[in-house]
């Protein structure tokens, strides 16, 4: 099914002011309700190979998985929905292909990529992430970071050595503790949540959140809220105005109306329904 008219996706990526090439990759796909940001790293141009493989593999895997209705069932053991399990498997597949490519192609040795991917379905969202690319959400005027970075800095904050303010000044900024393609297997963080009609979602690479403070990101999206395209352009401009030391990618996503799956009357009931 297509989400045209139900969801609005806007994605922009820019190489920034300093780097010679863009190692980020993004994907927005209204047919499947999938959005992705990947931030590649590694030697000469290998970073963009890794992030490119991640976006392509995850998109293909999810597209094919959603078509295959025979296997539509949640994973009852883990309690995750079919879509969450599919998204996780797609990210694992991307890890596999990037790792194999890095092993077999000398010029790709050591390449890797972070990824944050969201799949919208049935007024819900499944979120998968590895590394320090982030998902933020604006809900009822509150700006919040949904994903928790897999980075050394985040570990130090979690352990109480740094306050989040001190962390922003640390030199150990860009050490990620997980990435796709580095090891034969990777642990993917999965979250599931409901989508409300006035939510706005922002996926971004660290080129945005390292360069622009959270309140400024929030204010920009709020100010240009009528037009996601303009909001995305302004976010990139802001990162570049602040120095643009890294590639910067933003994907904005927003529901335009309910995208609840078409179901029979009895399916409309929530999982735990009661009459008083």
């Amino acid at each position: 099914m297509s989400y045209k008219g139900k969801l609005n996706f806007v994605g922009l990526t820019d190489k920034g002011m300093v780097r010679p090439n863009n190692e980020d990759a993004i994907g927005t796909n209204l047919e499947t309700g999938l959005v992705i940001v990947a931030d590649g790293m590694g030697g000469y141009k290998a970073g963009e190979v890794a992030s490119g493989i991640a976006v392509q593999t995850i998109t293909e895997f999810v597209t094919n998985g959603l078509k295959d209705t025979r296997k539509r069932s949640g994973n009852s053991e883990s309690g995750y929905s079919h879509e969450s399990v599919l998204l996780r498997n797609a990210v694992l597949k991307a890890n596999d292909i990037i790792h194999q490519t890095a092993q077999s192609q000398p010029q790709c040795e050591g390449m890797g990529t972070t990824v944050v991917a969201c799949l919208f379905y049935n007024n819900r969202i499944s979120i998968a992430h590895v590394g320090d690319s982030r998902l933020y959400r604006i809900r009822h005027g509150q700006f919040e970071q949904v994903t928790v970075d897999h980075s050394l800095l985040q570990e130090l904050v979690s352990r109480g050595f740094y306050t989040p303010e001190e962390a922003r000044k640390s030199l150990n900024k860009n050490l990620v503790t997980r990435a796709l393609g580095i090891e034969p297997t990777v642990q993917v963080d999965i979250q599931e949540d409901v989508v409300l009609l006035d939510d706005t979602y922002l996926l971004c690479s660290d080129g945005l959140h390292d360069m622009v403070e959270d309140p400024d990101i929030h204010l920009t999206i709020k100010t240009f809220s009528a037009n996601l395209e303009t909001a995305a352009q302004q976010l990139i401009k802001l990162a570049n105005d602040n120095g643009g030391r890294d590639n910067v990618s933003v994907v904005l996503a927003r529901p335009l109306k309910s995208f609840e799956a078409q179901k029979g009357f009895f399916d409309r009931l929530t999982e735990w329904w009661f009459s008083s």
């Binding site: 995750y80 897999h150 390292d210």
Partner: protein, 240 residues
């Protein structure tokens, strides 16, 4: 490379080059920095060096660890900090110019490889684990494995279904009555959170312990009482 200068009453006693990951400070002889004074605990404090940064952690000492006159438990050391332990002072010198110059150098993202040997200036995950596993915290690798997910259940406390139980064994559970009041409970690594989804006209927010949950997700605690669509439910944590 960072350096520590130990002194007592303004007299320098010793200098230490910080060329390994962990330094313990204490009264007992097995410490890297041995301070033989009754005001100092056996193992008083720990200094961890991770790449270019150093971190100080008090090891539950009797008399405490002070940095620039302030009592600290954990502290990210800054160039010139004065650590006070008993009557002894330790000055921390980071050994690096406050360089904006190498900005691009450290902006490049590197990966810490779990278990792998250090290479290309990036520490191995192993060494980082060792370095910051002191003070009773679980090593990163274990934390990262995402220890077992939390478990909890709901029990209906009022109405015709009183006594009915539901284990919250899904990542996302919606409950309530469509058109009246619906909420969702999400399971995350750090617990369960309830969020309001929709209400029919004239209906407000669900409540937890008698208070509106409002528009934001709210963390649930053991024995919380949720009221949703006029039904009261208890939230109970379960052992893993």
């Amino acid at each position: 490379m960072g350096k520590l200068i130990l002194s007592l009453d303004g007299q320098e006693i010793a200098q230490y080059e910080l060329d390994k990951e962990r330094y313990t400070i204490g009264r007992l002889a097995d410490n890297d920095i041995h301070v033989d004074n009754m005001a100092v605990s056996g193992h008083h404090a720990l200094i961890l060096n991770i790449l270019k940064d150093s971190f100080l952690e008090d090891l539950n000492s009797t008399n405490g660890t002070y940095v620039n006159g302030k009592l600290v438990k954990k502290h990210a050391l800054q160039d010139g900090d004065i650590i006070t332990i008993g009557r002894h002072q330790i000055k921390y010198l980071s050994g690096q110019a406050k360089a904006e110059g190498d900005a691009d150098e450290f902006e490049k993202t590197m990966i810490i490889r779990p278990g792998a040997k250090a290479q290309g200036g990036a520490p191995s995950m192993d060494s980082v684990n060792k370095a910051i596993s002191g003070g009773g915290a679980a090593p990163i690798a274990e934390a990262a494995k995402g220890a077992a997910l939390p478990r909890a259940k709901l029990q209906v406390l009022s109405g015709a279904f009183a006594g009915k139980e539901l284990e919250l064994n899904k990542a996302l559970t919606t409950l309530g009555r469509p058109g009246v009041q619906v909420a969702a409970i999400t399971r995350r690594a750090d617990g369960f959170f309830i969020v309001h989804v929709e209400s029919g006209s004239g209906q407000g927010f669900p409540t937890v312990n008698g208070k509106d949950i409002g528009a934001q997700a709210q963390k649930l605690n053991d024995n919380d009482v949720i009221e949703l669509a006029s039904v009261k439910m208890g939230f109970y944590s379960m052992p893993n």
